[in-house]
């Protein structure tokens, strides 16, 4: 058999030819691979390098310690306390989550709700992510966990930080509180800190108003992670900048005294230093426990707060608006003197007639006050005198003076939710009701009823302005971090000294002269006497029939129909230093004047506090104070 026949030759030639073709194909494929490598590694290399870095590096935010809040003497009103917690890490548990929870609940109390939450959190996280089992533990519970630790594999005690308010409901309306971030808040604020699990932001009060300052700046841990998110090592660390500490003008002792004095009532009380405008106390009762919102409020507790007719969630001192009642007569008196009515006097017979409507004075049963001039009008709170003043001034002049004294507009106190109150104008009434202004309304508004509305802080500012004759503006903070506010210089008000002198005299008589409306509750300590003006705000209409048959006494009415009792005051009379306002919701009592007693006690307390201490206002050098320990 021949080794190479023609057929063999032809198929060898074919093989060689086709093997070269195949080699060419191989070459093409290698060229494609090389080209693809060029595209991936050379052309798009930078982009892929960036993406591999993104994969590898995880930036973790580090929450800064929240700034603390101090009173004017350096007492901590809001601080960060250690939060003792217990964590578990699923992958380290020898027998799974449920037996571990059983073991823990033999040591500390775990509610069914807590257990459910832990199981939910464990399911939602990777096995190596620690999950909080319980937090805000007492030291005893925490110590017990630590004692049993040798038998608790996979369970870690941990110390975190949580906001604490040592004085609870007595300061809640000033401080507010912090709570978990809501979805809308997270969308509205670009600060990445808000996305941190468990992060808290200020929801009310100072905590809300100065949230950005208190919050501080996030630190960043750059951590190398693997594909499963497990930490491999820390690449760099940028420490968090702690939030700024805030120093309030509040005197904590006076604040607590005020809050305790008003406890049990639905009331507001404000005390100011008239020389600086510093708010020393700003109380609104009842309050609530701010720590509830931080830890997590239950539905029942929330419903209770919402359903309470004493409105514990409302800061009545700045957001409660009340007819100022007779306290408004002080402003009317200023307006009268300013409009050349300093010597104006009336003969009060108990009532006056305007058109076909009769207006009464409190003293109508005893035949009126008789001859009443301006100071006496304030002292005995004669309505007839101020009806006549109102009729002569008209609503425009009354309103202008009231606004110059600070009513009808927010005082600008650094707290969220302040209301502006209301000083009505003709235009306002037309726009609001579509009816022109009536002269009778001028009279009613002249004694602080009708449309007039004011907040307790506005009334306190009114007292301070009358006491000084200057445009005192209340403020509640003096230092925010290292930013210090100097003592403000208050401009004189556009009224004559005589106007203020006369009104101050009327207010002095009202408290310190027999026949004065507040004489029964005057301060008797020499040198500490106060001057003031009472007020009553009706919350219902008194009908003609009732007036004929005898006005129902306040005590015989249901609580929510009783009059509000108001009082504004300053002390000491000779050299005013403190101004105060009290509003007692539905607390009117013509004989006892409880609101005056509250003001008396509070102003007395303010004055009897160590005068040396009072002179050392702002002794605190913010820079020398220890910063947050966190």
């Amino acid at each position: 058999m021949p080794l190479f026949d023609r057929k063999d030759k032809s198929r060898y030639a074919t093989f060689t030819r086709r093997s070269l073709m195949m080699s060419g194909g191989v070459g093409v494929v290698f060229a494609i691979l090389g080209g693809r490598l060029y595209q991936l590694q050379i052309q798009e290399g930078q982009e892929y390098r960036a993406r591999s870095e993104e994969n590898r590096v995880s930036e973790r935010l580090v929450a800064p310690p929240r700034g603390r809040i101090f009173d004017r003497f350096g007492v901590e009103l809001a601080n960060n306390r250690r939060n003792f917690r217990v964590l578990l890490t699923r992958e380290q548990l020898p027998n799974g989550v449920k037996p571990a929870l059983d073991t823990i609940s033999r040591i500390i109390y775990l509610s069914d709700r807590q257990r459910e939450r832990v199981l939910r959190d464990v399911a939602a996280n990777k096995a190596f992510v620690p999950v909080i089992v319980a937090e805000n533990l007492s030291w005893d519970d925490f110590a017990r966990i630590n004692l049993h630790l040798p038998y608790l594999t996979g369970i870690q005690p941990d110390v975190g930080e949580t906001r604490a308010y040592p004085f609870g409901d007595e300061l809640v309306h000033i401080l507010g509180y912090v709570a978990a971030v809501s979805q809308q808040e997270e969308q509205a604020d670009s600060d990445p800190l808000l996305g941190l699990p468990g992060f808290r932001i200020g929801k009310r009060g100072i905590e809300k108003e100065f949230d950005t300052e208190l919050r501080g700046k996030a630190g960043v841990d750059r951590i190398e992670v693997n594909a499963y998110g497990r930490n491999i090592r820390e690449l760099s660390h940028e420490t968090a900048a702690p939030g700024a500490d805030i120093y309030l003008t509040i005197d904590n002792d006076l604040q607590r005294f005020t809050a305790q004095r008003l406890a049990g009532e639905s009331a507001a009380g404000v005390v100011m230093d008239v020389t600086t405008g510093d708010v020393l106390a700003l109380a609104s009762t009842p309050g609530f426990d701010p720590n509830l919102f931080n830890i997590g409020i239950s539905n029942a507790q929330w419903r209770e707060l919402m359903g309470d007719d004493h409105k514990p969630l409302l800061n009545k001192a700045i957001a409660g608006t009340y007819p100022p009642g007779s306290t408004f007569k002080t402003a009317m008196a200023v307006a009268a003197v300013d409009n050349d009515m300093a010597d104006f006097a009336v003969n009060c017979s108990g009532s006056i007639r305007l058109g076909n409507h009769v207006f009464y004075c409190d003293a109508w049963r005893i035949g009126g006050h008789g001859h009443v001039n301006l100071t006496r009008g304030i002292q005995v709170s004669c309505d007839i005198f101020f009806y006549e003043v109102a009729r002569r001034l008209g609503i425009d002049k009354m309103g202008a003076s009231a606004r110059a004294l600070g009513l009808g507009a927010p005082t600008g106190i650094e707290l969220p939710g302040e209301r502006s109150g209301l000083i009505p104008t003709r235009a306002w009434k037309l726009a609001r009701f579509g009816v022109p202004w009536q002269q009778g309304e001028t009279l009613v508004n002249g004694i602080g009823q009708g449309y007039m509305l004011a907040t307790p802080i506005q009334l306190c500012m009114l007292a301070a302005r009358i006491a000084t004759g200057k445009a005192v503006v209340p403020r509640i903070t003096h230092d925010i971090g290292i930013r210090r506010s100097p003592h403000p210089a208050h401009a004189p008000l556009p009224f004559s000294d005589k106007a203020f002198t006369m009104v101050r005299e009327g207010m002095r008589l009202a408290v310190n002269q027999p026949g004065g409306t507040a004489f029964g509750s005057r301060i008797t300590q020499p040198g500490m006497e106060m001057a003031g003006k009472t007020g009553t705000a009706q919350v219902r209409r008194i009908t003609k029939e009732e007036r004929a048959t005898g006005i129902k006494s306040n005590a015989s009415l249901p609580w929510n129909l009783r009059e509000h009792a108001l009082f504004i005051a300053f002390a000491p009379v000779e050299a005013p230093r403190y101004a105060a306002s009290i509003v007692l919701e539905h607390g009117g009592n013509a004989h006892l004047e409880p609101q005056v007693q509250f003001a008396r006690d509070i102003l007395l307390y303010a004055q009897t506090r160590d005068p040396l201490k009072m002179q050392t206002a702002y002794p605190i050098n913010a820079a020398s104070l220890p910063t947050n320990s966190g």
């Binding site: 080794l3 057929k7 063999d8 195949m22 494929v29 691979l33 590694q41 930078q46 892929y48």
Partner: protein, 383 residues
């Protein structure tokens, strides 16, 4: 010593002569490529020989001994064992399909005593052997005769279908590619080839129906990786990130973040080349491609230099088989084709693959050593 059923060898070489005649240059290139693989496995394990590099080195040494051993065996003996080997592989493949273990959701493994074997890997070599033997007996014009063509088509089709049913699309593709390449090299008429390609193109939509869900998903995510960026698209996009982030010169040995931090899936097996791309960059990858090209060049040269049609077909068939691995794995890890689960030869971690590849090189080397052996066309034909 050995039975010599075929005449016409010029003369029989002694063992020492054969050892001297082994193409040691090719062996060196293979060793270099394998060493790159060891380095990669060492790196992917975070700078440890355990658990992969040490085993891979051991397998390579066994493979090396096997390579030289196979090279010593006369080419005619290989021709003689071609059909039995094919029959044996086919039986194993059927056994796997029936009673195979479930690995990675697919029946691919069979336990043979202490070792786990992938019969589909063995089948590729056996098919090349058997086809080479069959085609050895056919002239150019015989190859294209329909009746003659039926047998090789069945030899290709049956294992391909079995492997596809495992399911293992990648290996089935390689089996078909190996077989068709041999038919082409044996001189199959273009009148068959071109219509066949047309038919395959037309059959793609029909074939789609028979694909497993995971295979369809792979194809779909390949076409649009963003479709499932955290699921099936993860492999592709992480592989591209690893490869691309290597840049020109790579992140450096042991510094690949994608592979070290487990972002790169299967960094030790199917995606090993990507890990090389990350740490050694474009230069490292093209260098490796160049080494592969040299191996293929050697293979083609051995094939063309062989005197017997069997050796020519066997040598080039094995070379192309090696090339198809590189092509499919290379394209798959760079995102040019869907992920089909084909390892990079000599680089990827895996026992069967390493031994089969080295066995293939042993046969190739036998072709080289016995290149002067002439085998008449008629001998060895079963028809």
């Amino acid at each position: 010593m050995i039975a010599r059923p075929y005449a016409a060898a010029r003369r029989t070489l002694s063992i020492s002569e054969k050892l001297l005649d082994v193409n040691w240059g090719l062996v060196l290139i293979i060793a270099i490529i394998a060493s790159v693989g060891f380095a990669m496995l060492y790196s992917v394990a975070g700078g440890h020989f355990s658990p992969w590099a040490n085993k891979q080195i051991l397998r390579f040494i066994i493979g090396l001994v096997m390579l030289v051993g196979c090279a010593m065996v006369d080419i005619r003996v290989w021709m003689q064992v071609a059909y039995p080997a094919y029959a044996f592989s086919l039986l194993l493949l059927i056994a796997t399909t029936i009673a195979g273990h479930v690995g990675l959701g697919a029946k691919r493994w069979i336990e043979l005593g202490p070792i786990e074997l992938q019969p589909s890997e063995l089948m590729k070599i056996s098919l090349i052997l058997a086809l080479a033997r069959y085609l050895h007996g056919l002239g150019v014009e015989d190859v294209s005769k329909p009746f003659r063509l039926l047998i090789p088509l069945a030899m290709i089709g049956i294992p391909a279908a079995l492997v596809l049913s495992q399911p293992n699309l990648g290996t089935a593709t390689i089996i078909v590619a190996d077989g068709v390449s041999l038919l082409f090299l044996a001189g199959l008429s273009w009148w068959w080839i071109l219509p066949a390609f047309g038919a395959v193109a037309a059959a793609v939509p029909i074939g789609w129906q028979f694909l497993h869900d995971y295979q369809r998903r792979r194809v779909l995510t390949f076409l649009n990786p963003q479709l499932d960026a955290m699921g099936a698209g993860w492999n592709i996009s992480q592989a591209e990130i690893a490869m691309g982030s290597g840049g020109l010169a790579g992140k450096g040995f042991l510094n690949g973040t994608q592979s070290q931090l487990n972002f790169l899936p299967e960094a030790n097996t199917d995606f090993a080349w990507t890990a090389i791309g990350e740490e050694f960059g474009f230069l490292g990858c093209t260098m490796l491609l160049l080494l592969f090209a040299i191996v293929i060049f050697y293979g083609v040269r051995i094939a063309v230099a062989s005197r017997s049609q069997f050796a020519r077909l066997l040598a080039l068939g094995l070379t192309l088989n090696f090339f198809f691995y590189i092509m499919i794995n290379g394209m798959m890890v760079t995102g040019l084709i869907p992920v089909v689960g084909i390892p990079m030869p000599l680089i990827s971690y895996g026992g069967t693959a390493m031994l089969v590849v080295m066995f293939g090189f042993g046969l190739l080397m036998s072709c080289h050593v016995h290149r002067q052996v002439e085998i008449p066309r008629g001998s060895g034909s079963i028809i």
